[in-house]
Amino acid sequence: MPAKKTSSAEPLAVGSSEYDSKMYPVEPNGIELMLGGMFSAMALVSPRRGLNLYESPVKYLCVSATVLFGYYAILTFADIYCFKVSDSQRRRTRTLGSRFTAVLKMGLGTLVSAFVLSVIFVLFGAPIFSQHGETYMAAVNVSFLAVTPAILTLKADIGAWRKALLSLQPKTLPEKWAAGFFWCTMVTCWAGAYFVPMDWGRPWQRWPIPIVGGAFLGYLIGLMFVAVRCFVIPLGRADFNETERLKREMTRQPLPGARSTDQASSETKKLK
């Protein structure tokens, strides 16, 4: 039954008999999804004339990384990244200092993960003795797109990271969020490498442009994927629950837990 599924995906909702807003302690916030699309587009389009991705890729990637950092910094500072915490009390009580610390942590975490990523790039074949700037800045960009969502939602909890990114266990919404961005970005970034050895002779085939381009493309796909998985599907379920509640109220039937098995099975058939 769909209602059961929702409750297993949402551990916080288990046992709650009321179908009100408390079932979703966090509300999906569409703002950052739209902002994410906008900022990643901004990072791709050169903000200033004379800044050429082909001629000065490092400079360009620095600018795009700065734009991405600004985007995350604003959201982190306002504490609205990923989900609007329904406990608005907590948000109000957060001090300025703790907000700055959060932004700082996000930035540092991204830079460290960019270092790890650039080591991985080199292992996958990036030049070792040259183009360090390109490799590291590409890693910073990819890191902002793939890892920073996980940093912000999963915090410094290795177990949560493993669970979110590497397991098929049922996940909470923040975990789905992190995994969606991480895998979409990483897979297209990986696939972008296939364009490097092609003999088309295009300027965009130079290291690291296909990788970063792939990552941006994957991030946009990830945006849609995450929007559907964390936003549209739960909303649909919420609607479904809402109508079911109304129906039940109208027929004055007892709540699912109190029903007899016969009734429940007939109910299921009807719903189907």
Binding site: L123, F124, G125, L166, S167, L168, W190, P197, D199
Partner: protein, 957 residues
């Protein structure tokens, strides 16, 4: 098993059909051109009268692999030849060769003017093929001989095979001992003076091989290269001096005599590491230099080093030599020629004569057009040009052959106009203009015909190809069924779940897609390097404990180093790699690395039995079985003996391989050993170098026998079946090394150490106990994973974890490229296929060639068998061996499924792209390599070798 054999037989038959259809022997016009075939002249007179020859003697000096910059470049040592060109006494061109850039097809092209069949490249390697001779195909030499010229040939004996019964005096040299760079040329040069000074020759050919050998050995920047160029330059000067002195006398004595033409040319060139065979710019850019009475080039005032750089871009097709020489010597142009006469060389004729020559050449090319399009009508020259109006050709709508016919008629009409204008015209300018128009028309027609014909010149037998593809389909489907029926399977229909792991499916899909792209075929190594690291990375991510993470990270690092060893492919061929450093400034380091590698493998060899024994004792102490069987002590003593002998044999083989490498490549001097010390070392090994190699073969064979004997003894002395398998597998893995190292290029020897290290890192039980390996990983396992149920739950994404078999598959393919191979025929390493071979022997050299080039894949396949033995996972009730035999069969079926899918897709791709620009340069070599992978590697080495090995082990029971 029998079923698998049947399926593979079907696949082999399919391969036969497809190859027969795809690589056909060329359809060529039979017979030889004669004077009667020539068109009637507009100028009146005898219609088939041959034009007066410009020369009556010819000296061809062919320098193998002579690249254009060796003569024209600013680093050339050929000062005399450069001087000739600079003074305008010679004409130089960059001659563009077509792939395959290997000697035999190039000679064929240079003498017949045809675009060669791809199969020629293969036959060039399997060089005894007699059907490739030009006895029955029209060629320049036959025409010259038919004219009564005496032809002598000195140098590469390929000519003697190609042109039996053509030469009067010969002295052949074999091209297959690549290590010799001095004697091959001395054997040619000693003939130059005596043979040229002797009377009674008309055509003399010298074919020098030393320059090519230097390229193969040490590349175009070798220190040997400049002295060789100087040597060639001296030969040029000697020849010209002798010949011009003779010409002065001859022309004075006989007024009908004509002067001598000298041609310096290369058959192909070489790429930046000195190999050839492919289609890259460097490999195909060779040289024509013509010197002779009446040849006037543009004198160049510039005396600087770059004076001749314009000639580097003065590109003409190599086959243009054929009509040019035929016309200059007044013989009919060979029937299948596609080349165009070189305008600068026939510029010495009057307008009328020159147009007549062009008419003859155009007529011959039109004959080829006719042969390729039976529907096309022959041209009745008088009728078609009667109207005297030049037709306009509709190149947009008419079929190409019709357009060509029309263009030919245009040219003929223009020619006729010129002949008509001549008698009456007082003004020579009008005649000259008419001549220029006609000449332009002839060249335009011949150029278009050449372009059209070289595109469509190879016929395919589509029926045979379709039969082949159908058989591939059948065998692929049967293999899918077989794999499904085998232990692992593809999908479980009961639970409706796919069993194949996600990485395996992704690998298969991406690989099949990559076969469609010519660049991903040229750069296939990039594909495998990417996938090896992806597999390792996924293993790292999904590894259960931090010991595994660390080991996998080290494997990734090692592989990153290995992939930087040899730069291959077409996109970045000149990239500096480790091989470059090791062969230049770090040569000494390289030899020390070689020494260390051999020492390391020596340690490995002595360590196998100890580690196996300790594993065995550990096992026994765990299971509580009594450690000494009294009745078996006899076998134990013998086993100890046998193992000692095995280790001794293996170490001796390694030592001999090392001595072979150091002697052959001069390593002992680089390392700094003095002559007496080295002669002491050599005193212990066979004195002949070839015997050292043979000794290694013998010892490897002895080691195989001893290993089987030891396995037999081991079983009798109460060692567990598992330990027998493990020891035998490790013995095989190390026992293969002397052979592979013997055949490897010296700079690749350390790569094997990397391979061994990568393999050992898969198995913590193989690592020394004290290290981080075994103990550490066990300890971290408990610390990293927490409560048991969290562990089992958390790692459900094991669908992403590639199995060792899958990583090994990637490594098998990647190691092929790591050692410097690629999908171009140029990268085939011929130099090591002759170790210990004193006489050319097709089968033996073929096996050695395969072993030398597939050394990496062979070793990793052996590593796969060792993995099978080492993995303790399925000790089924039927006993470890039966379980493993099952699993081995499963692997083999999977590998063949993979190969069948590849062959099927590749065949379809090749069939669809048969008119593609890159079909001969990219797709066909890839197909040949695919055949070698399937028939040589997967079928012969893995399937036959692997099951044979396991069967031998089982037979010791």
């Amino acid at each position: 098993m029998a079923l698998l054999a049947a399926v593979l037989a079907v696949e082999l038959v399919g391969l036969g059909f497809f190859v027969k259809g795809f690589f056909p022997y060329k359809r060529s016009i039979p017979g030889f051109a004669s004077v009667q075939d020539q068109p009637e002249s507009f100028a009146g007179g005898s219609p088939q009268e041959p034009p007066a020859p410009q020369y009556d003697r010819l000296v061809v000096m062919l320098v193998d692999a002579l690249r254009n910059d060796f003569v024209f470049g600013n680093n050339s040592a050929m000062a005399y030849t450069q001087g000739l060109l600079r003074d305008g006494r010679a004409v130089g061109y960059t001659a563009k060769a077509l792939a395959p850039t290997v000697t035999m097809p190039r000679i064929k092209a240079l003498m017949t003017g045809t675009v060669p069949n791809f199969l020629d490249a293969v036959l060039n390697i399997a060089e005894s093929d007699t059907s490739s001779s030009l006895k029955f195909q029209d060629n320049l030499l036959w025409q010259l001989k038919n004219r009564g010229k005496a032809i002598n040939m000195f140098g590469d004996d390929t000519w003697l095979r190609l042109f039996p019964d053509v030469f009067s005096r010969t002295d052949g040299t074999s091209s297959f001992f690549v290590t010799d760079t001095v004697e091959v040329d001395a054997n040619v040069t000693r003939n130059v003076r005596p043979e040229l000074e002797r009377d009674g020759w008309d055509v003399t050919i010298f074919h020098y091989l030393g320059l090519d050998h230097i390229g193969h050995l040490a590349g175009p920047d070798s220190p040997l290269m400049r002295p060789k160029q100087e040597e060639m330059d001296h030969v040029v000067r000697d020849i010209l001096e002798i010949v011009s002195a003779q010409d002065v006398k001859r022309l004075a004595a006989d007024s009908s005599a004509r002067p001598t033409l000298f041609v310096l040319l290369g058959d192909h060139a070489m790429n930046e590491i000195g190999n050839h065979g492919g289609n890259s710019h460097l490999e195909t850019s060779t040289v024509f230099v013509f010197v002779g009475e009446g040849i006037r080039g543009q004198p160049i005032a510039d005396k600087g080093r770059n004076a001749l750089s314009a000639l580097l871009t003065n590109v003409v097709p190599q086959i243009n030599l054929v009509p040019t020489l035929a016309l200059l010597f007044g013989v009919p142009v060979p029937k299948n020629n596609l080349g165009l006469p070189l305008p600068e060389l026939i510029a010495g004729y009057s307008d009328g004569e020159r147009l007549r020559l062009l008419q003859i050449a155009a007529h011959q090319i039109y004959g080829v057009v006719l042969a390729n399009d039976p529907d096309l009508a022959t041209i009745d020259i008088a009728k078609e040009t009667a109207g005297d109006a030049m037709p306009t050709c509709d190149s947009d709508h008419d079929p190409v052959s019709m357009v060509l016919r029309c263009e030919y008629i245009r040219a003929l009409t223009a020619h006729k106009r010129f002949t008509k204008a001549r008698p009456g015209s007082a003004a020579g300018a009008a005649a000259a203009a008419a001549a220029a128009t006609a000449e332009g028309e002839y060249y335009s027609f011949m150029g278009h015909a050449n372009a059209h014909l070289s595109r469509t010149f190879s016929g395919y037998d589509l029926n045979a190809m379709s039969v082949g593809i159908a058989l591939f389909c059948v065998s692929t489907m049967l293999l899918v069924a077989l794999y499904q029926a085998s232990s692992s399977g593809i999908a479980n229909f009961k639970t409706k779940r796919i069993i194949m792991s996600v990485p395996a499916i992704a690998l298969l899909v991406t690989y099949v897609i990559s076969l469609n792209s010519s660049s991903l075929i040229e750069e296939e190594h990039q594909f495998w390097y990417h996938w090896v690291q992806t597999m390792f990375f996924l293993r790292l991510l999904t590894s259960r404990h931090s010991g595994g993470v660390v080991r996998t990270f080290f494997q990734m690092c090692l592989f990153r180093i290995a992939r930087a060893w040899n730069q291959t492919g077409q996109n970045w061929p000149g990239e500096i790699d480790i091989r470059y450093y090791l062969n230049s400034s770090y040569n000494r380091l390289m030899w020390f690395m070689v020494l260390v590698t051999f020492a390391l493998f020596g340690v490995c060899a002595s360590w196998i039995h100890r580690s196996a024994a300790s594993a065995e004792s550990l096992r026994r102490s765990k299971s509580g079985a009594p450690s000494i069987h009294v009745g078996r002590s006899r076998y134990r003593r013998r086993l100890a003996y046998g193992q000692r002998i095995f280790r001794g044999v293996l170490s001796t083989a390694l030592a001999n391989a090392l001595v072979y490498q150091m002697e052959r490549n001069g390593g002992w001097q680089v390392v700094g050993l003095s002559q007496p010390v080295w002669s002491v070392v050599r005193w212990f090994t066979p004195s002949e170098l070839a015997d050292v190699a043979r000794f290694v073969y013998l010892l490897t064979f002895a080691a195989a026998l001893l290993g089987t004997g030891c396995a037999w003894l081991r079983r009798r002395s109460g060692v567990s079946d598992h330990a027998v398998l493990v020891t035998a597998a490790l013995e095989g893995l190390v026992g293969l090394l002397p052979l592979l190292l013997l055949l490897a290029r010296p700079h690749n020897i350390p790569v094997f150490a990397i391979f061994v290290a990568m393999f050992v890192l898969f198995f913590p039980q193989l690592l020394p106990r004290t290290g981080f390996g075994r103990k550490g990983s066990v300890a971290v396992q408990t610390a990293g994973c927490g409560p048991a149920e969290v562990c089992s739950n958390e790692w459900r994404l094991s669908a992403l974890r590639p199995s060792k078999a899958l990583v090994l598959l990637c490594l098998v393919h990647a190691s092929f490229f790591v050692l410097g191979n690629s999908n171009s025929l140029a990268s085939l390493d011929l130099s090591n296929a002759y170790a210990g071979v004193s006489r050319y022997n097709e089968g033996l050299v073929g096996v050695l060639l395969f072993t030398a080039n597939w050394a990496g894949p062979l070793w990793w396949a052996a590593a796969g068998f060792a993995t099978l033995a080492l993995s303790a996972a399925d000790d089924t009730a039927a006993g470890p061996e039966d379980g493993r035999m099952q699993r081995l069969l499963g692997w083999i079926v999977a590998a063949h499924l993979w190969q069948a899918a590849t062959i099927l897709v590749l065949s379809v791709v090749v069939t669809l792209m048969r008119t593609h620009l890159f079909i001969w340069s990219v797709f066909s070599p890839r197909y040949l390599y695919q055949i070698a992978w399937f028939a040589g590697f997967y079928l012969a080495a893995v399937t036959a070798g692997g099951t044979g090995w396991l069967a031998a082990l089982l037979a010791t029971k």
